[in-house]
């Protein structure tokens, strides 16, 4: 078949402009990054991947993003359900509010959370005044409950020395500032709209007849939710969670305000890349960037696959 003549004008112009723009802004810089990363020798790669600082940064980055995505998954499900299913005063306003973390610049988000959790004078840090005693109380309750189980003798002391007693280091771990918990809190904020907005369209399009059928067959509400509604939501829910996770892994602006950037404790991979750039170890920085990019692409691929799975069952 002969090549069809294009009816609409502008093919050449739009192609030319798009390609040029993409090349200048995206493709050439990324190619430079890949080329630089290719100059890293195998020994260097090994040293990089086994260095304790890189490993702890990877753990912090992915660990906090995962925990935040899980928390967002649960919160997001609740919020999406309520916003779609129930009618109450101020619902429109709350619905609009859900988009706030998406519209608010990350630096501002980080700033306000850092301020809320560093207790200074009476005007600031009032969330810290609630949070820190709460954490202390929970830790004390935990230690007190497990005290009868003994501290040295008994099955609960493992050969690696793990102990049920949560000491002061755990207070720092769960503090609202300069701790992994602080990072999780801020990532929950920035990733919040993803799950909600992915679930809402699906919830709205749920066929009510399925629920009615379940009720006719004698299922209670919880049973209906568990067996009928939730499986239909599952792909969208996982997509939203994956999106929140991907966003959390790359998040930089809000995290550096609250994390204190403590090496081996709260340093995330983008901060490590920034440091390596600052020390002019460009090759290392690009190698780390490649690691992040590869994992991000893998997540993007999963999201795409999930979306096509959703469409197949829709």
């Amino acid at each position: 078949m002969a090549r069809a003549r294009r009816i609409l004008p502008g093919f050449g112009l739009s192609l030319g402009f798009s390609l040029t723009y993409l090349s200048l802004i995206v493709l050439i810089p990324l190619a430079a990054c890949a080329l630089k990363a290719a100059t890293v020798s195998r020994a260097d790669w090994y040293e990089l991947l086994t260095s304790p600082r890189v490993q702890s940064a990877l753990k912090v980055s992915f660990g906090t993003a995962l925990v935040a995505a899980l928390i967002n998954a649960i919160l997001g499900l609740l919020v999406a359900w309520v916003l779609v299913r129930y009618a109450f005063v101020g619902k429109r306003l709350l619905d609009a509010l859900v988009d706030f973390p998406f519209a608010l610049p990350t630096a501002v988000a980080g700033l306000t959370f850092a301020d809320l959790f560093t207790a200074n004078d009476f005007r600031t840090g009032w969330l810290a005044r609630v949070w820190n005693p709460f954490v202390t109380a929970v830790l004390n309750a935990w230690n007190a409950t497990l005290a009868p189980l003994g501290s040295t003798a008994g099955r609960l002391v493992r050969p690696d020395g793990w102990h049920w007693h949560l000491g002061p280091a755990w207070q720092d771990f769960f503090a609202g500032y300069a701790s992994p918990t602080a990072i999780v809190i801020v990532l929950v904020f920035t990733g919040f709209p993803f799950v909600v907005r992915t679930l809402q369209p699906v919830l709205e399009e749920l066929d009510p007849e399925l629920e009615e059928a379940a009720a006719c067959l004698g299922a209670g509400r919880w049973c209906t939710f568990r067996r009928v509604i939730f499986p239909m939501l599952l792909p969208a829910w996982l997509t939203g969670m994956a999106l929140a996770f991907a966003r959390g892994v790359g998040e930089y602006g809000s995290v550096i305000f609250v994390s204190g950037n403590l090496r081996y404790k709260t340093e995330i991979v983008p901060v490590l890349i920034y440091d390596e750039l600052g020390e002019f170890r460009y090759a290392h920085a690009t190698a780390l960037a490649m690691i992040l990019l590869v994992i991000s692409f893998a997540i993007l691929l999963c999201i795409n696959l999930l979306s096509s799975w959703t469409r197949r069952f829709a």
């Binding site: 609409l8 619902k91 009510p208 602006g253």
Partner: protein, 346 residues
């Protein structure tokens, strides 16, 4: 499309619950209560904290973050207290000048970045929706790229190219690219325009513009592509048969159809361009007083200068922009709903 955050459609008034879909009342109220609590603690509290902290030290402290009076010329011998006051005034004055410079830089960058990305968005959407293409899915993934890249990496790639130690370093650090700058003055004519000569791409405005373009280029395209795809090519084809040339075609047919989506994309692109932190942090070098945008300045005020009230004052600008963005978005949705309803009723 991956990662599309479409807000709910016209049905957000809530489904009319039929008997089989009703949870017991206590479950409903409990869930509503929990959700209210979640939204309050997670969103309302942090956002109101911005305004509370900014205005909590008084209105004059807030305005001094932007317009501080110049310290009077100091006599030679001052008491300790006077010296302290003099120093504080000078510091506030200098800080306010840096803040205004940050605002001016942010606006300048936005004025450059948003039109460029809009043009790209329109071109890419036109290309991908009006013509059948083989590499369409590749292009769509490429457009989604900045959402999966950490902003630090976005800045890093430009430092690799244009930093002194980068590939094009020798040229890039010596190229002289000045820019116009404006500042608010105390006296007539109240606005000072000047030409600021500067050198280099990194540590200078071209680097910031490039990095911001990288991070924000998908926004307009992502809004337009599904929209134009849904609208199809019939109207444009009809216009071509009626004799329209390219420009007329675009202006009178396509633009009319996509105008609300385009506007929304521009608003999002603008909000993100003004608020971008990570990428700009890397390319601008984060040196105090040099070429910072508002988010950079906020971070400097907070961590390097430990000046919370100034940081929050600037944060109110961006938070206000976010509120405006959300407001415009709601209005656009209402408009779209109205026009859809009109089409349905007709």
């Amino acid at each position: 499309m991956t990662g599309t955050l479409k807000t709910p459609s016209a049905n957000s008034r809530g489904l009319t619950p039929r008997q089989a879909q009703r949870e017991p009342a206590w479950v409903r109220y409990l869930l509503i209560g929990i959700v209210l609590l979640i939204l309050t603690v997670l969103i309302v509290v942090p956002v109101t904290n911005i305004f509370v902290q900014a205005l909590g030290h008084g209105w004059s402290a807030y305005t001094h973050a932007f317009f501080a009076p110049a310290p009077p010329p100091a006599p030679d011998h001052l008491t300790r207290a006077q010296a302290l006051v003099q120093r504080k005034l000078a510091h506030t004055y200098e800080s306010a000048a840096h803040n205004r410079e940050a605002i001016a830089t942010t606006l300048f960058v936005a004025v450059l970045v948003v039109p460029l990305n809009t043009l790209f968005g329109i071109a890419a959407a036109w290309l991908l929706t009006k013509f059948p293409l083989r590499f369409r899915s590749v292009a769509l993934t490429l457009i989604d790229l900045p959402f999966s890249i950490s902003p630090v990496i976005a800045g890093m790639v430009f430092v690799l190219l244009f930093g002194l130690q980068g590939w094009l370093g020798a040229w890039a650090t010596n190229v002289r690219i000045g820019r116009p700058a404006f500042d608010i003055a105390a006296a007539f004519p109240y606005v000072q325009l000047a030409w600021v000569p500067a050198t280099g791409i990194i540590f200078n405005w071209p680097g910031i513009v490039l990095a911001t373009c990288f991070v924000t280029f998908p926004f307009v395209a992502r809004e337009l592509i599904p929209l134009m795809e849904a609208q199809g090519t019939e109207e444009e084809q009809a216009a071509v048969t009626l004799g329209a040339n390219g420009w007329q075609l675009f202006r009178r047919v396509t633009l009319v159809n996509i105008k609300w989506g385009l506007l929304y994309g521009i608003i999002l692109c603008n909000a993100r361009a003004m608020g971008e932190f990570g990428a700009v942090n890397v390319v601008s070098g984060n040196v105090i007083g040099k070429n910072g945008t508002i988010p950079i300045r906020i971070e400097q005020l907070f961590s390097a200068e430990n000046n919370l009230s100034g940081a929050f004052a600037l944060a109110t600008l961006l938070a206000g922009l976010a509120l405006l963005t959300l407001l415009l978005k709601s209005m656009l949705e209402w408009r779209t709903r109205q026009s859809t309803r009109k089409v349905q009723d007709a």
